[in-house]
């Protein structure tokens, strides 16, 4: 972290900044980070293909979540930005009552309990296509919804849940939506209560998804102008460029003082750095490859602030790929591959230490109460010879710098394992996000190290959208072509302050793109959700971390900070940055 700390202290003494006198109006231009993807989806229910941090940021500015976490670096909900009062659990933690603040949609109607129910019904209709979906969890763990009044509702749950888990990991998914404007099945149709039946909800969802696909109509479509967040969309280009202006009717929190918030996409880090060095951005980032030249940016009037997120980084393996899937299902194969990933060396050579090693499912930074001491130890340190030994011991003919093949198929301990046919080659195609030099370097180094054990990795690149779109869960067959992807680091950022892996590593989880399935991990995740006491919760967390680190549902790679932000000295209120990655420009001010 040496480079970054030095940069920070240099930044505080730079000339060219504001004099601290706040102004109203003005424009803030925010650079969308390369690894966050570009904005391409407005409707606040995301499928995995559009579940990009940029989209979530963009949606949150317009539709406020029920509970806003991470403001000022804290992992608890921020009362000034949240739409509801803290939830109240009752009936032995089998019911939760939510009370909304008195607030209004931009068209003037009040925000009601029906708007919360509307979201839940749509999420239910979206089923497994919704990125927040986990079998048996929200919204399936809601038995019934009782509307108490216009601003209060009670969710009756299927069983008792740990309140902290339920608030942080389940209620945090809810984004109330304008039922009185969106509950219809066609553009010309009347608004009704269609969402109350499952077939009606499916029709409403299909209509809204269809509207959201028309990216050219984002500003002209009246649906998207009904917002309750501090901003509404004024200008949008399908390449991801978005201009937002204040929602004058916003009454959940403090109204924005900034006149215009622009989210600007870039095709490469270098392009962003160029714009930054000319002073064209208010809030950008210094690409990792330029960290050694950070003085250039501080001289242009920026302060540099690293932005670690509650996140993890990994390579997704497709366990259902017909060619390589059977081999990937063997733990020893994944262990061999993990032993060929030299995380400390990648950090030292490529990241300038702007990251931390990641050996398991819970990040060690930003500091959080969940990571155990074991999370800092690598169970599979870099060792090509160990990788080769593992493969040889399981019936593979290892050809360093050639192609390793299975010569002893079978299910015994010294054979290749179930489903692995004789002659199976350890060849893996790996697609990763283009435009990030450190990632490209990591992938090259990984390919080189894998070749030492005869594992052939073919690299290809794509945009974030392409890579995420490629990696969708499939059940085998000829269409299940993709083998491995790295869709950027951090690879997964928790939107809620509870770093559980039910979406990532549980059987059928919404973001379990590689279709990993292991009963031990499923049981560990369930134990965290239902642990009755604090001690039991701690024990469940420890077990989960140890098991996932050992069983390798993915291959771990170093976790980078989200970005080293370059924030104009004229912009105040933007730090500390949100460890969950959201931005709240309504709380920022520009100074003269």
């Amino acid at each position: 972290m040496g480079v970054i700390t030095a940069a920070c202290s240099a930044g505080s003494t730079t000339a060219g900044g504001g004099n601290g006198i706040p102004t109203t109006g003005g424009t803030v231009t925010f650079a969308e980070n390369q690894s966050s993807g570009t904005i391409n989806w407005i409707f606040p229910l995301n499928s995995l293909a559009v579940d990009l941090p940029s989209n979530v940021d963009f949606q949150y500015l317009q539709w406020e979540p029920l509970y806003w976490f991470g403001q000022r670096g804290s992992l608890t909900p921020d009362p000034s930005l949240s739409l509801a009062e803290p939830p109240v659990y009752s009936n032995g933690d089998t019911a939760v009552t939510i009370t909304l603040k008195p607030a209004h949609w931009s068209e003037g109607t009040p925000i009601t309990s029906r708007d919360v129910e509307f979201f839940i019904n749509l999420a239910r209709a979206y089923e497994s296509s919704w990125s927040g979906f986990v079998a048996g969890e929200f919204p399936a763990n809601i038995r019934s919804i009782q509307i108490n009044s216009a601003r209060s509702l009670t969710l009756r749950l299927t069983k008792a849940f740990s309140p902290s888990w339920y608030t942080d990991s389940q209620l945090s998914e809810i984004i109330p939506l304008p039922q009185q404007a969106w509950d219809k099945t066609s553009s010309t149709g009347a608004v009704g209560n269609f969402d109350l039946t499952s077939s009606g909800a499916a029709k409403v969802l299909a209509f809204l998804l269809g509207q959201a696909k028309d990216t050219n109509a984002y500003t002209s479509n009246k649906l998207w102008q009904v917002v309750d967040g501090p901003w509404h969309l004024n200008e949008y280009d399908p390449d991801g460029y978005a201009v937002l202006t204040p929602n004058l009717k916003y009454d959940i929190g403090k109204k924005p003082t900034i006149g215009k918030f622009i989210m600007e996409p870039f095709t490469s880090d270098a392009a962003e750095a160029n714009e930054l060095s000319t002073g064209g951005l208010t809030y950008g980032y210094v690409p990792v490859s330029d960290l050694s030249a950070s003085a250039r940016f501080t001289a242009a009037g920026y302060r540099l602030v690293p932005w670690p997120l509650l996140s993890i980084s990994y390579i997704v393996l497709n366990f259902n790929n017909p060619t390589i899937g059977p081999a990937l299902k063997q733990l020893y194969v994944r262990q061999a591959m993990q032993s060929l990933i030299d995380e400390p060396a990648y950090l030292k050579s490529f990241l300038g230490q702007a990251g931390v090693p990641d050996y398991g499912p819970v990040p060690i930074e930003p500091s959080n109460p969940y990571a155990t001491a074991a999370a800092r130890t690598n169970p599979y340190p870099y060792s090509p010879s160990h990788a080769i030994d593992l493969l040889r011991a399981h019936g593979w003919h290892v050809v360093p710098n050639g192609t390793t093949t299975c010569t002893h198929p079978g299910v015994s301990a010294d054979e290749c394992g179930p489903g692995v046919a004789a002659g199976t080659k350890l060849q893996l195609s790996l697609q990763y996000v283009a435009g990030l030099p450190y990632l490209s370097n990591m992938m090259q180094a990984l390919k080189s190290a894998m070749s030492l054990a005869g594992i052939t990795v073919s690299l290809s690149q794509g945009t974030e959208g392409q890579v995420v779109g490629t990696a969708t869960a499939c059940t085998g067959g000829p269409t299940c072509k993709w083998q491995a992807v790295q869709w950027g680091t951090p690879s997964w950022i928790w939107g809620a302050p509870y770093p559980t892996g039910e979406q990532l590593f549980s059987t059928g989880g919404g973001v379990n793109a590689g279709s990993f399935s292991n009963p031990t991990v499923d049981a560990d995740i369930a134990a965290i959700e239902t642990a009755p006491t604090a001690a039991a919760t701690r024990a469940a967390w420890a077990r989960y971390q140890a098991d996932v680190a050992r069983l390798l549902p993915v291959l771990w790679v170093p976790n980078t900070v989200n970005q080293v932000s370059a924030i104009s000295n004229k912009l105040e209120g933007a730090t500390p940055q949100n460890p969950l990655g959201y931005v709240a420009p309504s709380t920022w001010t520009l100074t003269k």
């Binding site: 330029d290 060396a345 080189s448």
Partner: protein, 301 residues
């Protein structure tokens, strides 16, 4: 007319060959008198030797990364330093040049050959066929080449043969127009008319009479095509759609080096940039010299 024709139609077997030899010698003489042409040849030959013979003399590992040797500045061990994954930059320049030259030369040859054939057929065929064929060319010319390249390069995994194909696809249009223009003039010449009167087949007329007479234009164009293809490949790689690692090409190396511009790693930027410029300039000089050498009017000037 019938009495005139036999004398106007030069029988191919007796006179033409020595005439051709004389022409070639004169053209070579004119080429060698052109200093820039000679310089261009030296540059291109020098680059080819550097890329293809260099690695036999200067051995480097261009397959495995060396994480303890990243971003080393030039030294005795690494005359041009190392890049961001520890590859020796000089060795990489040689390997990268191989693919750049291979793609450049092969794409130029394919594009020129196909374009020549297309243009010759269009020029010689009926007006109707000519119209259709040239509208196809016009339509393809109206598509921005980079768009087509990006499309093809994203749906397929880039490889040297694919890049050759992709670059050829957008490069054959200009030679086809040039050759068609030549053929439209040539087909009214007496020797072609005579050949048609004698019942020589169309295919033979195109291949034996029309294309050989347009060869000057073609050779000149081909040399420019090589330069263009190298640049096109460089821009593709610059956009991240070049050869996947550990393969390299100059454009990709340059694009990579640009990332570290602010960090002052000049050895990652100038060498590949210079290699591209020198090779492209070399081929352009050769093209200019060839044009002067083959164009009789310019030669006598």
């Amino acid at each position: 007319m019938t009495t005139l024709l036999p004398s106007a139609y030069a029988p191919p077997d007796e006179d033409v060959i020595p005439q051709k030899g004389r022409n070639l010698r004169a053209a070579l003489h004119a080429f060698l008198r052109n200093r820039l042409g000679v310089l261009g040849t030296l540059l291109v030959v020098g680059m080819a030797l550097f890329c293809f013979v260099g690695p036999l003399v200067y051995h480097t590992d261009q397959v495995h990364t060396h994480l303890n040797q990243v971003h080393l500045s030039p030294s005795a061990a690494h005359p041009l330093g190392t890049d961001d994954v520890g590859y020796d930059e000089l060795g990489r320049l040689m390997v990268g040049g191989q693919s750049s030259l291979e793609v450049g030369v092969a794409a130029a040859l394919i594009a020129t050959a196909f374009g020549a054939l297309w243009g010759a057929i269009a020029g010689f065929a009926s007006r109707w066929v000519d119209s259709v064929m040239m509208r196809v060319v016009d339509a393809l010319l109206s598509v921005p080449p980079i768009l087509l390249l990006l499309f093809l390069a994203t749906i397929h995994q880039p490889s040297v043969p694919l890049l050759i194909l992709v670059v050829s696809i957008v490069s054959w249009l200009i030679p086809s127009r040039l050759v068609r223009g030549e053929v439209l003039v040539l087909k009214e010449r007496d020797f072609v008319r005579a050949a048609r009167l004698f019942g020589v087949k169309r295919r033979r007329i195109i291949l034996r009479h029309l294309i050989p007479n347009a060869i000057g234009t073609l050779v000149v164009n081909a040399s420019f095509q090589v330069a263009d293809a190298i640049l096109l490949l460089a821009s593709l790689s610059y956009l991240g759609l070049g050869l996947p690692p550990p393969a390299a090409d100059w454009g990709g190396m340059l694009s990579n080096g640009i990332n570290y511009l602010y960090s002052g790693y000049w050895w990652l930027v100038y060498p590949p940039g210079l290699a591209i410029v020198l090779t492209v300039v070399g081929f352009n000089f050769i093209g200019d010299a060839l044009r002067e050498a083959l164009e009789v009017r310019l030669r006598e000037r």
